[in-house]
């Protein structure tokens, strides 16, 4: 404690010391003067006898233990002062470090949560998923039909058990509180046992509890909290899921979010965690179908069995199935993949490129800072030499420089950590897995950031510090810098700049490919006029007897005429609302999807079973096309006159027309549609009456062959599962003026109309079409923006690097340029001299960058979500190459033009 007291009272101690020495000298002088010396002589003599006052004071200070702290404090203070003197340099350094460290920390927080954390299941290493592959497409991973899973269970020796889960989907929740969407998943009864997670309350559902109108469900902890306020008496409570009466029998523990082969309706606002698990109805005919693919099998390996052994077994079983069911299983193989790999696939695709990108950015930041530091140390050589010749030790000089580095790094990384709090929010949005909600800055993430900062500081601080520690006193103290420029001095700096440009180029290529993909998705028109369009869904429940009647003994459903009447009446009433110009209806609005149908063309040779023409269909109201302003290419739209009594009509898209009617007029042709899972044709053929323009119906990328049927021309009895499109109705409402000013009024009125017709019926998904389109691509756009932003930073840093090196080069050679100019060189010659260096550096960097990017193209193709663009797309390479070249040229221009403005007289006068 004493030293601490001394530390704080050291100012007084030093003053005492100074006073004392002063008194000593004065006393000495007095005595010498008394002895007969002149006062001037005496002063000299006193000092001579006393020795070096400063040095002795230093020695005295060193006697006190706290000098190192003090030296550090001094160094930091000095560093702060010297950094504050020229704000540009520290600003650039802190900015680039903050970005580098912030971005890395944010991405690491996602990696840490999503990829590095173990799966929260019992012995997760023994869990695998099984996928079907096609001989024709070995990379394919399809969901096997559930009937097959039942066979595997009987035949295999390697799995302790096999469960199956569906994709995570959305259902409409009614019967408790405000109706709203929930995320649901179907699972077999053994799923929970298989992964080894038991409910904290109640039990899991039993298969036999699932019936036509009733089912038992298990709910997630979060859902329990949100909807039931963690009510311990929740068991036995009921609600309706898409109209199905559902009774809660169990609550899962907190943190159990489940997993799914994919996440339909993924939108960041809704969350990705499953909230309700429902059983697979054992009575459903889908269970027996060998053509119905909607479950992901999850299996637990028997103890001691490896994934490879399971694969061998599944190969054998697949061959057996091929023989037993040649129709459905020809060329079908089975692939065993560990659950971990399956679940991490999409997260890896998101995170690996980002991790690579932020790593590059940090590397470039460090290189850049090292470069700037080098130039700075070089520029301060005289200062270091002076300090060294005044007695500063090398260690002290290095310490001084490291203090500067430390101060910069500390400020930079603190800012970086602040940035990463914002960055983790972005990461939560773009990482498409349930665990994404847990992404946050925690202890291990901060530790990572700290480690990274130290690494960064060492990377950029050490080289300059070592250089500063060996100042060449003679050289530096001589007036001015060296007159001739030796290339060797700049070599390190050149290498740094080249690597900066190369790294920036790689990042630019990656971002360029993504931006290219995004543009290919965004630029083409969606096929309709999205302005002033309002949409909302009125999806009638398939479980209400008043709307749908299941036909006993058959997998068929009779849809009541009430359904059509409901929608028709709604359309009529909405059309009369003030502000509404036109209103139409479709089962699923673009780009939300369509139902797949295969078809045969009457009068054409019958297609082979595995190669039937495909189209994606939606039921629409006749007014749909005019409301959406979809272009009519040939024939006519569907009309009100297309009723059940008239010949059934169908409108097709250009893609379908071009694909299946390449050399003939599709108008007037008749097609017979088939619902593929049931392998049954429709009763009546439909005549093609019109061809309409392309619409992005299924996602924002890619065009699909589309079919439009009128909701008025539908059968009474549907094959089980195909009644879905008849029940769904999304309104598209075109307003006369700004849609946002009408949105609330129209929504209220529609809700009122619907309530009058059916009090339990919710109106959902109220949104403008612009928002629907924007949201559908939002996550991808965010991702591209993030990658583009990182590439942008990389370019800015690289340009700063080029600029700094050229500036330094010009400064070093000012004298030489002056002499050259005086001796008759043209200004253009000098310009060429500087530009040549700049171009050589940038060109070399670019070339290395291109080579690096090409080397990484496999990685990019695998992990970047590219649409319609190859990872080696020459146009992208050319575009980003030219962009980077232009920017670096600009960075060359400023120092180069400065070089030409050297005044020979001024320079020579200095000689």
């Amino acid at each position: 404690m004493n030293w601490l007291k001394q530390l704080f009272s050291r100012g007084r101690l030093y003053n005492d010391l100074s006073d004392e020495i002063q008194q000593h000298l004065e006393e000495k002088i007095e005595e010498l003067v008394a002895g007969g010396m002149s006062s001037e002589e005496a002063a000299h003599a006193a000092r001579r006898e006393f020795g070096n006052v400063t040095l002795i004071k230093e020695d005295c200070r060193e006697m006190l233990a706290f000098t190192w702290i003090e030296a550090l404090w001094q160094d930091l203070g000095y560093a702060a002062r010297i950094l504050a003197k020229s704000l540009g340099f520290p600003a650039v350094v802190v900015f680039s470090l903050a970005l580098g460290i912030g971005a890395n920390t944010a991405v690491f927080s996602a990696m840490n949560t999503v990829l590095l954390r173990g799966l929260p299941y019992e012995h997760p290493e023994n869990l695998v998923t099984i996928w079907s592959t096609q001989e024709t497409d070995p990379g394919s991973e399809d969901l096997p039909p559930i009937a097959e899973v039942t066979d595997w269970k009987k035949e295999n020796q390697v799995f302790a058990d096999i469960a199956a889960i569906s994709a995570s989907d959305r259902a409409m929740l009614t019967g408790i509180g405000e109706p709203g969407p929930v995320r649901i998943q179907s699972a077999t009864q053994n799923f929970f046992d298989l992964v080894g997670v038991q409910p904290v309350l109640g039990r899991v559902f039993r298969t036999e509890e699932s019936q036509e109108q009733f089912q038992t469900v298990v709910i997630s902890n979060a859902f329990w909290k949100r909807r039931f306020n963690s009510d311990p008496n929740v068991l036995g409570k009921t609600f309706r899921l898409d109209g199905m009466v559902s009774t809660v029998v169990g609550v899962m523990p907190a943190g159990f979010t489940g997993f799914a082969p994919w996440y339909s309706y993924s939108s960041s606002t809704e969350g990705k965690s499953t909230e309700v698990w429902k059983p697979v109805n054992p009575g459903s005919a889908r269970n027996a179908k060998r053509s119905d693919h909607w479950f992901m099998p999850v299996a637990r390996l028997k103890p001691g069995v490896t994934v490879a052994q399971a694969q061998v077994e599944m190969d054998v079983i697949a061959r057996g199935m091929e023989q037993a069911y040649p129709k459905s299983n020809k060329g079908v193989g089975e692939k065993v993949i560990s659950l971990r790999d399956t679940l991490h696939k999409s997260a890896r695709d998101t995170l690996y490129p980002l991790m690579g990108a932020v790593g590059f950015v940090l590397l470039i930041s460090c290189v850049n800072v090292a470069n700037l530091m080098l130039s700075r140390t070089e520029g301060r050589r005289k200062e270091y030499s002076v300090r060294a010749s005044l007695g500063a030790s090398r260690r002290r000089l290095m310490q001084q420089l490291l203090a500067e580095c430390g101060l910069l790094t500390f400020t930079g990384s603190s800012l970086g950590v602040l940035l990463s709090f914002w960055g983790t929010r972005l990461m939560r949005a773009i990482t498409e897995v349930p665990e994404a909600t847990d992404i946050r800055v925690n202890g291990s993430v901060l530790l990572f950031a700290a480690g990274l900062s130290v690494l960064a500081a060492l990377l950029f601080g050490l080289a300059p510090a070592l250089r500063a520690a060996r100042p060449d006193l003679n050289d530096a103290l001589r007036e001015g810098e060296s007159r001739t420029y030796s290339g060797k001095q700049g070599r390190t700096r050149y290498l740094l700049v080249i690597s900066e440009v190369a790294l920036a180029m790689v990042l630019l290529v990656g971002a360029g490919l993504m931006i290219n993909s995004l543009l290919r998705i965004l630029l083409p028109s969606p096929g309709f006029d999205a302005a002033n369009l309002l949409t909302m869904a009125v999806n009638l429940p398939g479980t209400e007897v008043k709307y749908v009647e299941k036909i006993p003994g058959k997998d068929m459903a009779r849809v009541s005429p009430k359904v059509t009447a409901f929608h028709q009446q709604l359309l009529e009433r909405v059309a009369t609302l003030p502000g509404v110009e036109l209103v139409g209806m479709i089962s699923l609005i673009p780009p939300m999807g369509a139902g797949m149908r295969t078809f045969s063309i009457l009068g054409h040779p019958g297609p082979s079973p595995g190669d039937r023409p495909e189209g994606f269909f939606n039921e629409v109201s006749p007014s749909y096309f005019r409301t959406m302003k979809i272009a009519l290419k040939r024939g006519r739209y569907l009309e009100e006159s297309d009723t059940t009594s008239a010949p059934w009509a169908v409108v097709i898209s250009e893609t379908l027309a071009n694909r299946y009617f390449p050399n003939e007029d599709p108008i007037g042709q008749q097609i017979l549609l088939r619902y593929e899972p049931q392998e049954v044709d429709e009763d009546r053929p439909r005549q093609i009456v019109g061809v309409v323009g392309e619409v992005k119906q299924i996602g924002m990328g890619g065009l699909h062959p589309l079919l439009y049927e009128s909701f008025l021309q539908q059968p009474d009895v549907f094959q089980g599962g195909s009644e879905f499109f008849q029940l769904r109705g999304s309104l598209v409402i075109r307003t006369a003026s700004d849609v946002r000013s009408h949105e609330a009024d129209i929504a209220t009125s529609v809700k009122q109309f619907v309530k009058e017709m059916d009090p339990d019926q919710p109106v959902t998904d109220i949104s403008t079409m612009d928002d629907v389109l924007g949201k559908s691509i939002k996550d991808y756009k965010n991702y591209v923006v993030a990658l583009g932003f990182l590439a942008g930073i990389a370019v800015v840093l690289a340009v700063i690097g080029v600029y700094a090196v050229l500036s330094y080069f010009v400064n070093q050679r000012t004298r030489e340029f002056g002499i050259r100019l005086a001796l008759g060189a043209q200004r253009g010659d000098v310009l060429v001299l500087v530009a040549k260096l700049g171009l050589t550096l940038a060109g070399t960097g670019l070339a290395i960058g291109v080579a690096l990017a090409l080397g990484l193209n496999r990685f990019m193709a695998e992990h970047l979500w590219l649409f319609d663009v190859k990872a080696t797309d020459p146009a992208t390479y050319a575009a980003v190459g030219i962009l980077l070249a232009c920017i670096t040229l600009f960075a060359c221009y400023v120092p180069a033009s400065r070089a030409t403005k050297v005044d020979p007289m001024t320079v020579l006068r200095h000689e």
Partner: protein
């Protein structure tokens, strides 16, 4: 160049002399130097300033204590006093020094004979 007493004397010698001098009477820095010089008949050529680091070390080790006072020439000076610990330390040091000196003397004496 770093510490002149190390060049001229063996380590600790200056401290020992300071303690010995202070044992006789409390003194301020200047007087202390003059006293040591005089006592050694000016044989010891030490830089006067080198006294101060040694004094700081002794202060830190609490072998001496210092107080501001007025000198005989009416200056405001810091007067150093030996502490009890200092006196004990001096005794030990002198003792071991004498043994060492004895040893050195013997070796040198034999070399001469």
């Amino acid at each position: 160049m770093k510490k002149s007493e190390q060049r001229d004397l063996f380590p600790g010698a200056l401290e020992m002399m300071i303690l010995r001098t202070l044992k006789r009477q409390p003194l301020h820095g200047y007087a202390l130097v003059q006293n040591i010089k005089r006592t050694s008949n000016d044989l010891l050529q030490i830089e006067e300033g080198s006294l101060y680091p040694a004094l700081q070390r002794l202060l830190k080790d609490r072998l001496v204590k210092a107080e501001w006072g007025i000198s005989s020439t009416n200056r405001r000076v810091r007067i150093y006093k030996l502490t009890v610990a200092g006196a004990r330390h001096l005794e030990r040091e002198v003792c071991s020094f004498e043994r060492m000196l004895d040893g050195i003397t013997r070796v040198l004496a034999r070399g001469e004979s």
